[in-house]
């Protein structure tokens, strides 16, 4: 199931790249705009894959998370190079709603990555960590995709379909991760599941 999830994210990412590269919006566009668009498409695919990589693939999950953050930073940097005036205006308090969504999404993404990297040092209980790390990640994903959907550009038409499908996939991955844990927790509570405390040593 998880494999289907992250493979679907990869297919959606490839579809997004094809849609963007064949869009008239990028025809003859400056290289920095192309870079900005493609990094955003790849970041969305990464975000859609992440919830499907939480179990048994933590190293990949960490790598993809860092890559997504890197892609988003390149996306923003390319926009700053393309038009500093417009980029700084977009990131200011006077910027449009879609830009504010992107800015909040980026802040949340940084928080999510830092939480992930500091998990052991934080020493939080599993459910607390998962609520904050996973919850903020989902919020960042929804806001990032909302930003992309509201942005006129290379991802209109079929691009919007790809973006919305990526959002649904991400939410579904989060829901699947939560649901996978519930039966195990319920089984432990009823005493029929795997023991969490080792049995006492047998008398000699």
């Amino acid at each position: 199931m998880a494999r289907v999830g992250f493979l679907t994210a990869g297919v959606l990412g490839l579809a997004g790249l094809v849609v963007a590269l064949t869009s008239p919006h990028l025809a003859g566009a400056p290289v920095v705009l192309v870079v900005s668009t493609l990094t955003a498409v790849a970041a969305v695919a990464g975000l859609a894959a992440q919830p499907w990589l939480v179990r048994g693939r933590v190293r990949v999950h960490t790598g993809v998370g860092l890559a997504v953050l890197g892609l988003v930073v390149v996306h923003v940097a390319a926009l700053l190079v393309l038009s500093p005036d417009d980029a700084l205006f977009a990131m200011s308090p006077d910027g449009p709603t879609r830009a504010r969504m992107a800015l909040i999404s980026l802040v949340l993404l940084v928080v999510v990555v830092l939480l992930g990297l500091a998990r052991r040092r934080l020493g939080w209980a599993g459910p607390t960590f998962r609520l904050l790390h996973g919850g903020f990640a989902l919020l960042a994903t929804v806001l990032g995709i909302g930003h992309a959907v509201l942005t006129d550009g290379a991802l209109e038409g079929w691009g919007t379909v790809v973006l919305l499908a990526s959002g649904v996939l991400s939410v579904a991955g989060g829901a699947a991760a939560v649901l996978r844990r519930r039966p195990a927790r319920a089984a432990r509570a009823s005493g029929t599941g795997r023991a969490t405390v080792p049995p006492p040593p047998a008398p000699r």
């Binding site: 008239p24 919006h25 003859g28 400056p30 926009l79 038009s83 005036d85 417009d86 980029a87 205006f89 977009a90 200011s92 308090p93 006077d94 910027g95 449009p96 709603t97 879609r98 830009a99 504010r100 969504m101 909040i104 609520l131 904050l132 919850g135 903020f136 919020l139 806001l143 509201l150 942005t151 006129d152 550009g153």
Partner: protein
């Protein structure tokens, strides 16, 4: 904590402006022209136009006069003073992104006619930083205060109206 963050995000989004602070959809299918209201015009007291955030984005002084920008999209407007009287002969600069020219390069200046009207023809506008937008500025040295506006249009619009009210 998570609920508090979601709440803060909701407030931040609810208090944001769809097109950016002070920007209006001035395209032919939008919310009507930028400029004084019918009531203001009838009363003969027009509120001065104020530069909006983003209005000076990619502004370059002294754009050449009547530089042809193409055809398919028309920016029109009337320039008035605070008594709603037309202001003839002032320089207006228009700049916007089209499919063939970036907002940094696609600009021209025109002068208002005897009725204070101006008109600029351009290739159709395309999205720039998320949506098509048109900049109109008054930057003539003279008795009036300079003013710069950034407003938006929609894909496929064929024109926009941006009226200005200058103040000393």
């Amino acid at each position: 904590m998570f609920v508090a963050v979601v709440w803060v995000v909701g407030v931040l989004l609810a208090t944001s402006s769809l097109h950016g602070t002070g920007a209006r959809d001035v395209g032919v299918r939008g919310n009507g022209p930028e400029g004084p209201s019918v009531a203001e015009l009838a009363a003969g007291r027009c509120a001065p136009t104020i530069t909006n955030p983003g209005g000076t984005n990619n502004y370059v002084p002294k754009a050449p006069f009547a530089d042809p920008l193409g055809a398919g999209f028309t920016v029109t407007g009337t320039v008035r003073d605070e008594a709603c009287r037309p202001v003839p002969g002032v320089r207006i600069q228009v700049w916007a992104q089209t499919a063939t020219a970036s907002e940094q390069r696609n600009r021209t200046s025109v002068r208002t006619d005897a009725q204070g009207r101006y008109r600029v023809d351009s290739d159709p506008l395309v999205a720039q930083f998320g949506e098509p937008n048109v900049h109109v500025g008054y930057d003539d040295p003279g008795p009036w205060r300079r003013v710069f506006l950034r407003n938006v249009t929609r894909d496929g619009d064929t024109g926009a109206q941006v009226d200005l009210v200058l103040s000393p």
